[in-house]
């Protein structure tokens, strides 16, 4: 049972509210760059919007979802009240203040630096301080997750840690460690310049530090979705989790391999040696392992559900699945998007193929497919699953939910598939306007217009999502009964030490960070001639 419903609801509602705003910005960006709109006279408006869209969708929205989800799942799975409730609220308000502090200067055009900061561009300091505050607020959650697990372990010595909590804490530790990179960049490099203490910045070092965060953050976004795959979906469709051990192993491997891979974002950068680029390329390939493990385990789990319902044959069981169940639908759509996104990801991570798509629209399409597609559709599923337990009211709009999920899937495909193609045609990313009169521009024009349509479908889907949640708050009161997680085929009775705690995996994660990041960072720290003059965006401090 969820003891602190208000805390969880506050996180979720803030997350979905800012998501509703940011998705409108995204569609506007797609529209004004398309041939449907004349050239934007003031390019800064576009960069302002991209900065806001990226900051909200990349930092604020998924962090809040992960936090609210973590608080709920820790209380339900451990069956204990959250330890440190005041701290949790303090963390929440830090994020509120940080978001406002970051959003206002961005809106005023003082910080059009995009959410990846791109030094030597430097904007107004309050934006960076706001982002730091959001990160610090989320670190409160990281500590609380660890503390709550420790408290539970003391009370239940030797008992197997419930899978939802094991996975939530894995996600928390991953985020705690991976946020160190961007936080160091902000605190030690960008903020001193933004506050006027220095006018030069080591942009190469800043990019390496940001890459420390840049890819593992995606796995932090992904954790709630994967936790839902394992612990919600099999239960919701009346099946069983095929293997609890496989689930724990997947989360452990994510913890280890999500971190030492970020330099695959710097393949085209000159400040990192090619040996390290190859190293990161190999470790990025290793991330496919827990993902493929997950796909196998979850497919096996839904097959169990189907066989229990009378599904027969090698493939006939697929038909017997409960396709009218929103959780089943969300899972299937998420897997399809994950498959395409993952295939694109394998191309991005390969050292050689990367050069064909580097800095093109292909990359933007890829991370929208993975994050906005596969992951966010599971955020919707999580909200639908938890909401009745948070409000004590019934969700009666099943048809609207199915429509919403389908629209999100269709919209994401229509948005990203042409977008990938535009990238292959060589269309660069992060541009406020394109010259469609150039040779070959007509092909690109068509793909961008298709993406605009896809974006519009996504906006409609988001509106439906918010409608379902708002209507639930006024629906008929009904006790939803106790919240349960999916049961594994074999209940864990006596887990090996390695799968009942995260010490070993956190140790491996930190060790790999040192081997894969240590030398490049030390080398760049010593290069004082690598400091370049800051380029002030929106006026000098």
């Amino acid at each position: 049972m969820i003891f602190n419903k208000r805390l969880v609801l506050a996180h979720f509602w803030l997350a979905f509210a800012v998501f509703g705003v940011a998705i409108l910005l995204g569609e506007w960006q797609m529209f004004i760059r398309s041939p449907l709109h004349g050239w934007l006279r003031n390019a800064d408006l576009y960069y302002r919007s991209v900065t806001a869209h990226g900051t909200i969708m990349g930092y604020v929205f998924p962090t809040l979802v992960a936090m609210g989800f973590g608080y709920a799942f820790s209380e339900i799975s451990l069956k204990q009240k959250l330890v440190g409730l005041r701290w949790a609220w303090a963390g929440f308000w830090m994020i509120v203040i940080g978001t406002l502090g970051a959003a206002i200067p961005v809106g005023l055009g003082l910080d059009s630096v995009l959410y990846t900061f791109y030094p030597p561009m430097v904007g107004h300091a309050s934006y960076y301080l706001g982002v730091v505050l959001v990160v610090v607020g989320s670190w409160v959650w990281v500590v609380l997750m660890g503390v709550n697990l420790a408290v539970w372990k003391r009370a239940n010595p030797g008992a197997p840690v419930p899978l939802p909590m094991f996975a939530t804490v894995a996600g928390a530790y991953l985020w705690g460690w991976t946020a160190v990179g961007a936080a160091s960049e902000l605190l030690f490099q960008i903020l001193p310049v933004a506050l006027g203490f220095s006018s030069t910045i080591n942009a190469g070092l800043a990019r390496v530090l940001f890459s420390w965060t840049l890819h593992a953050i995606v796995y932090f976004w992904l954790m709630p979705a994967y936790i839902a795959f394992y612990t919600i979906v099999p239960r919701a469709i009346g099946g069983r989790l095929y293997s609890d051990t496989m689930a724990r192993l997947s989360f452990a491997l994510f913890l280890v391999f999500a971190m030492p891979i970020g330099i695959h974002h710097l393949f085209a950068d000159p400040e990192v040696g090619s040996g390290f680029k190859f190293l990161h390329s190999v470790f990025t390939a290793m991330v496919a392992v827990p993902t493929l493990l997950t796909v196998f385990t979850i497919c096996a789990s839904v097959e169990i559900a189907s066989r229990l319902r009378g599904g027969k044959g090698a493939f006939g069981w697929v038909k017997a699945l409960p396709w009218d169940n929103p959780q089943m639908l969300a899972l299937a759509l998420s897997f399809v998007l994950l498959g395409f996104g993952g295939a694109g990801g394998l191309i991005n991570m390969s050292y050689q193929l990367n050069s064909t798509i580097h800095n093109t629209q292909w990359v933007t399409a890829h991370f929208h497919l993975i994050f906005a597609g596969a992951i966010v559709i599971m955020y919707f599923a999580i909200a639908y699953d938890l909401w009745p337990h948070l409000t004590g009211r019934v969700i009666a709009d099943l048809r609207m939910i199915r429509t919403q999920l389908w629209l999100w899937f269709i919209g994401m495909v229509v948005l990203t598939f042409p977008w990938h193609y535009a990238g292959l045609l060589g269309m660069p990313r992060r541009m406020a306007f394109y010259d469609y009169t150039a040779p070959g521009g007509d092909t690109q024009a068509l793909t961008v217009m298709m993406s605009v349509v896809g974006g519009a479908i996504l906006v409609i889907s988001a509106a439906l999502f918010l409608t379902v949640l708002i209507r639930n708050h006024r629906a008929q009161a009904l006790d939803p009964g106790p919240y349960t997680f999916s049961k594994p085929v074999h209940e864990p009775v006596n887990l090996p030490f390695a799968l009942n705690g995260l010490g070993l995996w956190v140790g491996l994660m930190i060790a790999l960070t040192i081997t894969n990041y240590g030398y490049p960072i030390v080398q760049l720290l010593q290069m004082h001639d690598a400091k370049v003059p800051a380029v002030y965006v929106g006026g000098k401090p």
Partner: protein, 264 residues
């Protein structure tokens, strides 16, 4: 698991397999990325295992050293390195005062408040760094002007700095609305490598060393754009203006000059 020994975990199969497996992946990628792939390079920097490893780590033992003398410049080049703190040590109050006194001999052409009614550049409110750079370039010959060269010849570096901050301190008109700007100014021409003027010269953003263009005389703007276009003016930082203006058509040069000159 625990047999009382502190290092019992070393015999735990989970520990040995996970750490050993990770270590093997690391060693494999290290050998491929730091030894085998670099050895395919045919340069001195990568010969031998140690050289290959250092090169792949981004710290080559030696670069290809050119024995030829650097190419001599065919014309005087600018010696000013424009950085954000170029004028940082200027005392604002003293500098403006001294600059105002020194500027008395500039008023004949540039006007008493930095605004001229002739076809002479207006200096009021122009970024100090760009004024300073132009005067240094007149002195050193990187920018040619029969009028300016003798006038700045006997000014010391501090004089130039003071003059620059004085002119930068004078009030200038507000930026014009980009909505009325011709395409070449508002959006440039992406396929011809022409950035929007406003992305450096104000309106969208002001880049270091880029002068304020609003209300400059039309004849002056057109003359400078044409000089960059033909390559007769060569003191732009990193050839930025030459690369832009070289690709501009005569009609675009006229349109840009008309827009920035406003009603003048």
């Amino acid at each position: 698991m625990s047999d009382g020994s502190r290092f019992a975990f070393l015999r735990n199969r989970w520990f040995t397999v996970s750490v050993g497996g990770t270590f093997l992946v690391f060693v494999f990628s290290f050998v491929v990325g730091f030894i085998w792939l670099p050895s395919a390079q045919d340069e001195n920097a990568f010969r031998g295992v140690w050289n290959a490893m250092c090169g792949a780590a981004g710290d080559p033992r030696g670069w290809l050293i050119s024995t030829e003398a650097p190419v001599a410049a065919s014309h005087p080049t600018s010696t000013v390195v424009v950085t954000p703190d170029l004028l940082a040590r200027q005392s604002a109050v003293l500098g403006v005062g001294r600059g105002a006194t020194l500027a008395l001999k500039c008023t004949m052409c540039h006007g008493t408040r930095g605004v001229s009614s002739a076809d002479i550049p207006n200096l009021a409110g122009v970024d100090a760094t760009s004024i300073y750079k132009q005067m240094r370039d007149f002195q050193g010959g990187a920018r040619a002007s029969a009028v300016m060269k003798p006038l700045v010849a006997d000014l010391g570096d501090q004089d130039l700095r003071d003059l620059s901050v004085f002119y930068a301190s004078l009030p200038r008109g507000s930026a014009r609305d980009l909505g009325a700007a011709p395409d070449i100014v508002a959006v440039g021409a992406p396929m011809r490598n022409i950035a929007p003027c406003g992305s450096c010269h104000g309106g969208m953003d002001s880049k270091l060393g880029a002068p304020w263009l609003d209300s400059q005389p039309r004849a002056y703007l057109k003359a400078q754009l044409e000089a960059f276009h033909h390559g007769t003016r060569r003191n732009d930082i990193g050839e930025q203006m030459r690369n832009v203006a070289r690709n501009m058509t005569d009609a675009e040069i006229d349109a840009a000059a008309d827009y920035y000159a406003g009603n003048r």
